[in-house]
Symmetry: none
Amino acid sequence: MPTSFATWNINSVRLRLPIVLDFLRQYDPDVLCLQEIKCLNDQFPRNEFTAAGYPHHAVHGQKGYHGVAIVSKHPLTDISSRVFFEIEESRHVSALVDLGQGSVFGPLTVHNFYIPAGGDLADPELNPKFKHKLGFLSELKSWFGEDHFRERQLICGDFNIAPLEHDVWSHKQLLDVVSHTPIETEALNALLSGGHGWVDVVRKYFPAEEKLYSWWSYRAKDWQAANKGRRLDHIWTTADIAAHTAGAEIIKPARGWSDKPSDHVPVIARFA
Amino acid sequence: MPTSFATWNINSVRLRLPIVLDFLRQYDPDVLCLQEIKCLNDQFPRNEFTAAGYPHHAVHGQKGYHGVAIVSKHPLTDISSRVFFEIEESRHVSALVDLGQGSVFGPLTVHNFYIPAGGDLADPELNPKFKHKLGFLSELKSWFGEDHFRERQLICGDFNIAPLEHDVWSHKQLLDVVSHTPIETEALNALLSGGHGWVDVVRKYFPAEEKLYSWWSYRAKDWQAANKGRRLDHIWTTADIAAHTAGAEIIKPARGWSDKPSDHVPVIARFA
DNA sequence: GTTGCACTGG
DNA sequence: CCAGTGCAAC
């Protein structure tokens, strides 16, 4: 029985609920991780997700900014969230997903992250937002080193880092731009290859030389023509889970869904 | 030669300029008084009004809130504005309109008002906005008692009061609702019948038992079906001018013009 | 540049 | 419900 997981920085779940529901109808993932829901827990549109066939929710919102949520067809247990770098923003939520009898997996833990964007200046001394981003990554590395991260884990979300040369429209022009500076890409690659060995189950399905983006700035007049994207949104799993991958997709057309789309598009990983 | 004057609370002249120009093309008033222009003087779209055949402007704007303007086919002189109750908001502008040779009138003074809405609670002790509204009306009464208000005057605007029983959808249900409380309707009726005797040149053309509205709340889901309106927008003249009236019209369809209409519609008074 | 939210005012 | 401002964030 096929299973799929999706992640999408939605930039206000209330404002973009219609296109999120369109996405669920059209792509039918088992689990969707959302970032930047920009609402309090009580304001999260639970009923609408339930009506759409996603009755299980792990919501960690906050007022106005950030906020993450997992919506799922399958039961979610052990819901928790974690503070990184001692900054109390809603940037992580996790849950144990029970995919049921038909699945090749037993239960697996899904971690949904919204890693800090990091501001404009790539200097942790001068820019506290960049310091926060690096601190967040550093704590993440320690945490992932713990033993229970060895298996049955999926981590995804808006990592705000495009790690590979062809994860940005111009490697050269973005080397000084936060999201693609060496200090960040090295930290993210260390996270990926360190610890117990994560697999980037999306890039796995696209040649390393192929440009691959999940985000296009609002600032470009014609995002499609310019196509100056970055791959900021990721899905990684432990090796046991990665053994069952069946494909991956980045839903580029979603950048044009509705009048006022999110600047990010959904990323999907499929498992056989 | 026929002459007509119109008043319209436009709730942002910049946002709704297209439908204002449509209105001018379709109804061709000589003078249009606007309220809630919600812009600074420099942001008022003078060129667009000039191009539409209304090259004369008396603009008294302010940042963000309130703001009134007169646009005219005919020259405007003696432009002035007045502060009421010592609260410096842009709620009045007046001008002398020279209608030229073909007119039955000599020059007349047009006063354009945006009387304070008055907040929710009809108690001047507890609600400073209601106190402001009553104070505004009180100062208006004194001012209109001055000798020069005896003739050749037209006053109009959003008075934020529905004075008559059939100026609201339910007299009984609105007796405690600001805009139709006895203290307000009595103050407005005293203004109308006191001083040198104004004529409500719009209600003149509709039987007193006929429901007549110029405003429908944004809050109603289906304003047209509910039809819970109020007549908040008025045109009054001195008796000399009222002697020449030829009709009046409230442009109810304007409540549905464009995706995002104003909650008020234009009111027109015609003179032979 | 462009967005979404909080707030105020209606 | 609608519009403005001010703000933070990207």
